[in-house]
């Protein structure tokens, strides 16, 4: 999706849905990533996994469909799809940890983009003394899925960048993020760029030079990297 302005989270969800391979098994983290499901068409054949024990999870339930025994990981009632299956929690995380899940999409406080820290994820704990830590399935997903996508705004409400050289929040996983989708740009962390930074796949309403002035992580345009090879 080419866009000359920053994306809202719903538009960003559509961009991510576009990049999810047909027929893949996918876990969408709680919060913003759940919006991606609205943009997956039946023709794509994507099978949604929810860590509380289901493959083939359907959309949110409404009215008479609501069944308290059938919820997603965010405890929101959902429906079945044809071909769905239930399993217990140890099996659910075994299929995650065992490398059977193709993609998961998680929210993040910070993702690291530089050098040895590239791909580090922080999304479970601010580290503040009065904060009650709650990790849920984030650490298991971070190391388990074959590809970990992050969906987040590029800057926090206070203006601080969330794509950083090195995470300052406690880590969720080391070197696990392959791609970062934000309102301003999509970053590829899987391929090392020549200067130890990240590859910018596309931008939304901002040019690369402006983006670089706002981020400490070295950026490389996708085209030049491809040309250099």
């Amino acid at each position: 999706m080419a866009s000359d302005k920053p994306l809202d989270m719903d538009e960003l969800a559509a961009v991510i849905a576009r990049d999810i391979p047909e027929g893949s098994f996918v876990n969408l983290g709680i919060g913003q990533p759940t919006k991606i499901a609205d943009h997956l068409t039946p023709e794509m054949g994507v099978v949604l996994h929810t860590e509380n024990g289901m493959l083939g999870m359907g959309r949110a339930a409404v009215g008479e469909e609501i069944d308290p025994d059938l919820t997603n990981a965010g405890k929101v009632p959902v429906i079945e799809t044809p071909g769905c299956a239930y399993f217990h929690h140890a099996d659910s995380f075994a299929m995650m940890r065992g490398g059977h899940l193709d993609v998961c999409v998680l929210g993040a406080f910070q993702v690291a983009g530089s050098g040895v820290h590239r791909g580090d994820l922080a999304n479970w704990h601010t580290g503040r003394p009065d904060d009650i830590p709650a990790v849920g399935g984030a650490m298991d997903l971070a190391i388990g899925a074959k590809q970990v996508f992050v969906m987040m705004s590029l800057f926090a409400k206070n203006g601080a960048p969330k794509l950083v050289p090195e995470c300052t929040y406690p880590l969720t996983g080391v070197g696990c993020v392959s791609r970062v989708y934000t309102d301003l740009a999509v970053f590829d962390l899987a391929d090392a760029s020549s200067d130890g930074g990240v590859v910018v796949r596309e931008t939304f309403g901002i040019d690369l030079d402006d983006l670089q002035t706002r981020l400490e992580v070295p950026l490389t345009p996708a085209g030049t990297l491809a040309a250099a090879r």
Binding site: G53, T71, A94, V135, T172
Partner: protein
């Protein structure tokens, strides 16, 4: 262990749970939460408990009510902080309850290990994070792993859809969650079910928890909780 016994009341089913016990409590939010057994445990009065469960209670019912009654010394869970976990939040901030945060998959696998006789296992989850600090690390074929130990319960309180007379269990939808794993990991597994059916009427191919893991069964009235919380 003798075959499962069926009790007439939840109070009889939870009799004998000692102070200081480790109690595995099923459920993911409200789905699969053994509300009636927890209410009975509150009446029974056991205190100084360690509770192992995915969450640390929602609203003021179920696990939250047990916490509010002051019976729990420590919670082992993956996700305590939720929009409606105020009972736990207040106890924690007041320093009146201990918390061990465990990644959700490790919580499940550590109980699975306990039930399967595994002494410990190397797991890739949490490597390089604060939750791996102080734990033994090993590199196996180029990948780093953390040594994780089993979590064994003195008791498991779980909810299932139906049991037959010998204790075979089937569950309903995502209310299954931790039930089958917890049933294997506790010395005594106590199950509340929506109905007890005649032995032989469950399809043996569809039994999820075989009777060997089940000690006590009690039928409760149909669950009346809603997704939002209030029962």
């Amino acid at each position: 262990m003798a075959k499962a016994r069926t009790f007439d009341t939840v109070d009889e089913a939870v009799a004998g749970i000692e102070d200081g016990s480790t109690v595995l409590v099923g459920g993911f939010g409200f789905a699969g939460m053994p509300f009636d057994l927890i209410d009975a445990l509150i009446r029974q009065g056991a205190k100084d408990l360690t509770v192992v469960s995915n969450n640390a209670g929602n609203g003021e019912v179920g696990l939250a009510a047990l916490l509010q009654a002051g019976r729990v010394r420590k919670v082992v869970c993956s996700f305590p902080r939720q929009s409606d976990s105020y009972v736990f939040d207040d106890l924690y901030r007041a320093g009146r309850i201990e918390l061990e945060v465990v990644p959700q998959g490790n919580l499940a696998e550590r109980m699975r290990a306990a039930g399967a006789g595994i002494g410990a296992f190397f797991c890739p989850t949490a490597v390089g994070t604060p939750l791996a600090e102080g734990k033994e690390l090993r590199t196996i074929e180029g990948r780093d792993y953390v040594l994780e130990y089993p979590i064994k319960g003195d008791y498991a309180l779980i909810s299932a859809h139906a049991a037959d007379g010998v204790g075979n269990l089937v569950y309903r939808k995502t209310a299954r969650n931790f039930g089958p794993v917890m049933a294997t990991a506790a010395a005594t597994t106590i199950v509340q079910v929506d109905r007890v059916v005649e032995t032989g009427s469950l399809d043996p191919e569809a039994v999820v928890t075989p009777s060997i893991y089940v000690d006590r069964i009690v039928q409760v009235r149909a669950r009346q909780y809603t997704v939002e919380g209030a029962r």
